[in-house]
């Protein structure tokens, strides 16, 4: 450990002696303090806090990420090119120890800078919150500066599958038309069944959306007297000139005599909305029933995955914020590994270029996803209604599919979104992030980098002194 520690200290000294630490710290502080001054908000306290959290954390992540990648490539590649690494490897230190020492040095440096930025952001938010009137402060405390757990409907997918199977069986008994693929027919049937679970027909027709049944489970015991929040999102097939739609909510339980009824709300489509509901609307089992009254002439569609969820306070903001920063640190650790791995066998500019290219590919997951869904890189022609085809699809589509699987290991964690919406980042999620991002993905890249570095002839690089 003494040897690895020596390399860690060396990395820190380089960061300080080349003034990199101070420049980076200043840049991050400017981003944290200066950026909120430039941003426009929606006028609400919650909006201000959410924008502040989103943009400052996003800026910090972006700046640190790029610098980390650059540093990681430079610290090893430059040592090899300037031949200083020769003075180190002839000492009784294994190459993996040198590699690990540099990795630890950069990760701890990131931790320090992230900690500094995080403290600044936290301090700024607390400062702003303390200056607010008590009622606004309370809203902020319950909606943003909080760690809220989320509960969604359970078992809907299973219900859909069961209903689809039944309907498909009935259809098969009647017989399918000629030339119809049974699998395609079943998939189409499933989409129909799923739509029925999602749509809220116009109220004038007399039909109402099925109730959402939310099971709070054991959390009900701690939620007595505590307000809950509904977070909803819907789409609309018909364009509305105002862009907003009128809805009303009735919430209670199966044993409620008189369910709670909300005011009529005018809500925009395709965006998330949160509003509080009174406490103690659930029954002894912790079940909550939510009815929607669609007061429009158009059908509204509530997606199964994000159409409806109940949020409740489970913890404080501080620890949640720290866990969020921890996940961001996991991203930085992965970028460090990527940069060091590239520098293990490439010169500095080439390693930096390749690492940045890989980062760019990782950020283009939307494009990759489209290619995989369409099954071709040639895209979908909307005029002709046909997808293009290319011989390279045979290679690229599976490659993109594999890449997406890898990228998903990282992108499934979104601490910035969670923190800006006051959602809980659990210890389980944090541990999973460490396991997936740092150990699994980072470990695989790191093993490759160490292997290549261990086998490299270090005296073939020309000194630049």
């Amino acid at each position: 450990m003494q040897k690895i520690y020596a390399i860690v200290i060396l990395t820190w000294k380089a960061a300080f002696r080349y003034r990199l630490f101070w420049v980076l710290a200043s840049l991050l502080l400017v981003a944290v303090v200066g950026l909120p001054l430039l941003l426009k908000d929606d006028g609400t306290v919650e909006g201000v806090a959410q924008i502040l959290l989103t943009y400052t954390l996003g800026a910090v992540t972006g700046i640190l990420g790029l610098c980390t990648l650059w540093l990681a490539c430079g610290t090893l590649a430059r040592d090899v090119e300037d031949c200083q690494i020769q003075m180190v490897v002839v000492k009784p230190i294994a190459r993996w120890q040198i590699w690990l020492g540099k990795w630890l040095g950069l990760v701890t440096l990131n931790a320090a800078l992230l900690g500094l930025s995080g403290l600044s952001i936290y301090g700024l938010i607390e400062l702003r919150a303390n200056r607010l009137p008590p009622d606004q402060r309370a809203r902020l405390k319950y909606e943003v500066l909080v760690a809220r757990a989320s509960v969604k409907e359970e078992g809907v997918e299973q219900l859909i599958d069961e209903t689809t199977d039944k309907a498909f069986q009935q259809r098969m008994e009647k017989g399918l038309p000629k030339g119809v693929d049974p699998r395609a027919a079943k998939a189409q049937l499933r989409e129909q069944v799923k739509a029925e679970y999602q749509i809220a027909p116009p109220g004038k027709t007399g039909a109402i959306h099925r109730p959402w049944i939310i099971h709070l489970g054991r959390a009900k015991d701690s939620l007595k007297g505590e307000p809950l929040f509904l977070r909803i999102k819907f789409n609309s097939g018909d364009y509305n000139s105002s862009g907003t739609y009128y809805v009303q909510w009735m919430i209670g339980s199966s044993s409620s005599v008189r369910p709670w009824r909300s005011e009529v709300m005018s809500l925009a489509a395709e965006t998330f909305h949160e509003f509080p509901i009174p406490p103690d609307l659930f029954d002894e089992k912790g079940d909550l029933m939510i009815f929607l009254l669609n007061l429009n002439d158009t059908t509204l569609l509530f997606p199964l995955d994000e159409g409806m969820e109940v949020l409740y306070r489970e913890g404080g903001f501080g620890l949640n914020f720290a866990r969020g920063l921890g996940i961001i640190l996991c991203w930085m650790a992965l970028l460090t590994t990527l940069g060091l791995a590239a520098a293990s066998f490439m010169s500095f500019p080439v390693a930096a270029f390749c690492s940045l290219a890989i980062l760019a590919i990782g950020l283009c997951s939307g494009t990759l996803s489209n290619v995989v869904q369409e099954g071709t890189v040639m895209g979908y022609n909307e005029e002709s209604g046909k997808s293009g085809h290319s011989p390279v699809d045979l290679v690229l589509v599976p490659t993109f599919r594999g890449l997406l699987e890898v990228i998903q290991l990282v992108q499934q964690f979104s601490p910035i979104d969670a923190l800006s919406t006051g959602r809980m980042i659990t210890w389980g999620q944090f541990s999973l992030a460490i396991g997936q991002i740092v150990l699994l993905l980072g470990g695989a890249i790191g093993v490759f980098g160490i292997f290549v570095f261990s086998r490299r002839e270090l005296a073939t690089a020309q000194g630049t002194n």
Binding site: K3, K13, R17, K91, N465
Partner: protein
Amino acid sequence: MTTTETTPHSALRTPNSEEVVIAVRGLTKVFKDFWGRSKARAVDNVDFEVRRGEVFGLLGPNGSGKSTTVKMLLGLLYPTKGHIEVFGHSPRHVATKSRIGYLPEESYLYRYLNSHETLDFFGNLFRLPGGEREKRSEQLLEMVGLSQTRTRAVGEFSKGMQRRIGLAQALINDPDLVILDEPTAGLDPIGCREVKDLILALARRGKTVILSSHLLSDVEDVCDRVVIYYGGKIQAMGTLKELLATPDAVRITTPVLPRETMERVLELIRKDAAVDKIRIDNPTQNLESYFLDVVQKARQAAEETSGATSGHKVAAYLRGDGEAKPAPDKILERLTTAQTTASVPAPAPTPAVSETVDSKKLETLTRTPEQPVPAPVEPKPAKVDLDKANEKLSSLLGKTK
């Protein structure tokens, strides 16, 4: 007139250890391009061994394969063919490196560290405890004359100063094997002398030193055995005596003698040797010793310098027990002993020290087993013009004809 030390320091030691520290067999290194095509054959089928306690020299012109060989010994390059063993292990064996110290041909140090931090960093890589690291760092900085500059960044040093700190880091672990690649490059003559003294001090302690250089005087002063590289191949290998001795000539150095004595000596010599084979002149000290004398006098006059200082002792932990006197002191001893001997009128040989006339050696040098004792030759009529020789003799004696 001054006398010079004619016997190399290396000849005063006789390393007789049979332990092989480095074994190289059939070593070949071919550098290839990105496509795997051969670009240069830097080392070609080299074999040698280095024994414990030896000072082993790698000599050769630029690009002959010396540094490539050194780098393969250290695991910085991998052989294309052949086999290397260092202390019985592969060069890439990590634990073995704790016994090796290396000074590369350029000082590849971290420019943002100061000299103390540099030694502390490398000491940490050898897992030296904090107290020991501190002690050795102080001694080494003192030894290389950089104790006044311990807080200056290495990037601000001159090349010579960087070489000195490079040498210090090579010795932080008191290595059993020291590999020095052009150790005197960039050093002033005092520094060169100190490095050579250090090499000899290490060798006296049983350390093995490998010295790669194209500076012949450095190698000649300290090495026991040398290999001479050219074109990646070993062209010659052996001890300095074996390689440098000129078997068909003899050199005798004496104090200034009266003219008559000199004439008698010359007359005797001319009986057995052709006049054009005889050379007479004043022995000269080499420029190094003259330079050292001048600097020593200046130091005694307390002249200041802002650069590296010199004349420091070898670090205590490197000296071991029983520090040997530095070479200039030895020379002084021998000179005063020789002068005392010369002041005695009777020209009796005093064989007590090895630098005075060794009659056995004289016999060996002057006669070979196959050749019978030459009969005295009748002086031939003087067909050769001796005037020039006499003129030179007169000028040497400082007397007019």
